[in-house]
Symmetry: C2
Subunit: 330 residues, 2 copies
């Protein structure tokens, strides 16, 4: 990279002239002037001007119009999973001088498309997406080539690199555990199964080992809490078998399990519960319950690493890369 | 506004030529082509081209380099309050053709400053901020004039318009309620009180009516759950008086109240609990507890309305405007 550049001042020259360390120059260039005295900042500025020093990253930015901003679209910022995912992404991006900028699809396909159109028109260097739509729709909405990494929702390989959980395996493993314990009936609490591949995989995992499965689908956007709870209660009351209530998403665990606990319906024998749950709240609510925990922070960090690899070497083809971050049950 | 413009085609002309409604033209201009047939979209495109129609917003954008993106910095996206705030902001912005773009300060003053520097350099039309820093620091980090609205954290009037809750009043009212019921001792669970004005106001509200107050401060970034819980339990055990545990923030309610419930320590008489809590989870956890609920969605919507007013008429001085959205107790 430096081979073709004319001989010019480098960071070391600037540091020598200003009489400060290279680390200080680096801080100055990253805008962290609050971490040095005003005198030091002025010295660095003078040295940069005198030597006509252009930092590599700025030079690259001038050529490519890089904004150093990465767009991140999550499914719904109300979910702890999505916000932790973003925190993981941000931590890695920022260590490399990028900033993660968050967009909320609000669990809405059409909204995600609209956001993609905006992102396509604006100066983002890349996109990390927990997608609602399929790859074709996403690419069409973007209208330009942009490095993309997909996270959490599995897609057919070959379009973009992706980071996912082993949804099928872990749902199967958890269900098998409760079947071994003697539960023979499963009630699944889920958002519309057809709308997200993640849910389909989890659902398939349950069905692969359990025969007697009831499903209660709850709309993400509008639902009547007490009507859904009555439906759940009716399914429990009807059942003569030992039942497992399986929440495919933490939100439904937090919404409906407290009611069961308060009414004394969750005895851990006749009726027990599990689910995907990433916050400690779910565990504290029902301390004797075994849950499935993912690691959204780590998934986000891995996605950001993949994107940075693509940005650093645009010729790299990572489109078949699929990282699987195992979830934990227990 | 139209008085100075030369006579040219307007939306009505385009609709007439294309043979569709004005609403359809509007949808087309907002990129919502998925809400019409391809034939309709093609007709609209042809009419726009033939009449050489330039929508007002596009014309303005060409002149001012408006990006139609509004930066939103929230304190911490892990808090339901922050994510609902953003959803309220987005809903209003989008009704006017703007997009809200979310930045997460991660409860970190230095991080907020860094984000402000990025936002100042990029093409955002305005900023809505739930601030960690003081107005001077914020303005310095931005380095340019930008319409700003402050939300949730009260500032001295005169810098920017703000939307806040009546933190002092509602904390005082809730505390008084429990004093009237016979609790004489209050344990406050809070993040560092000195770091946010919101917390200070709430804390002042409690102290304004209660004499016997213990305070347990929990660090937002790193804390030992069981150590804090033991501290809470010790304070309860020591106390010979009837005690109210008051969580200044929902997170601490969700983190520590379930433990009290599970250990049978929250009997609603000797020990009772309240707090600021915006999700239904807190209520379902402890159905007989009276809580303080804010309306972050409405606060966000109000903040967005103020910002849009500023954008539509830059001469308007709203810097002394302070909207107070009352919280509810019960």
């Amino acid at each position: 990279m430096t081979a073709n550049q004319p001989k010019s001042a480098n960071m070391k020259d600037v540091a020598a002239l200003a009489g400060v360390s290279i680390a200080t120059i680096s801080r100055y260039l990253n805008g962290e002037t609050n971490r040095m005295s005003k005198v030091t900042a002025a010295k660095v500025a003078a040295a940069i001007e005198k030597l006509n020093y252009v930092p590599n990253s700025s030079a690259r930015q001038m050529i490519t119009k890089s904004s150093k901003m990465i767009a991140v679209i999550v499914a719904n910022i109300d979910d702890y999973f999505s916000s932790e995912l973003f925190k993981g992404i941000s931590s890695i991006l920022e260590s490399q001088g990028y900033i993660g900028v968050l967009f909320d699809a609000d669990s809405d396909h059409a909204r995600e498309q609209k956001l993609l159109e905006v992102i396509g028109r604006q100066v983002f260097d890349g996109l990390i997406i927990q997608p609602e739509n399929d790859p074709q729709t996403i690419q069409q909405a973007l209208r330009r080539q942009l490095p993309v990494v997909v996270v959490d929702r599995e897609m057919d390989a070959g379009t973009w690199p992706q980071v996912v959980t082993d949804n099928y395996q872990i749902a199967r493993q958890a269900t098998q555990h409760f079947l071994d314990e003697g539960q023979t009936h499963v009630i699944v609490l889920t958002s519309d199964v057809h709308l997200a591949r993640t849910r389909q995989e989890r659902y398939r995992g349950i069905l692969s080992v359990a025969d007697n499965v009831d499903t209660i689908e709850v709309s993400e956007t509008s639902y009547n809490h007490s009507a859904v709870y009555q439906q759940l209660k009716a399914a429990l009351t009807r059942s003569t078998e030992r039942t497992l209530v399986f929440a495919l998403k933490e939100r439904w665990f937090l919404e409906f399990i407290p009611d069961l606990i308060n009414e004394g319906l969750l005895d851990g024998h006749q009726v027990t519960a599990t689910g995907f749950a990433d916050t400690d709240t779910a565990r504290r609510l029902a301390p004797n319950t075994q849950l499935i925990t993912q690691n959204p922070y780590l998934m986000g960090a891995s996605a950001a690493e993949l994107l940075l690899q693509e940005l650093q070497d645009p010729k790299l083809d990572l489109s078949h890369q699929k990282l699987i971050q195992p979830a934990k049950f227990g």
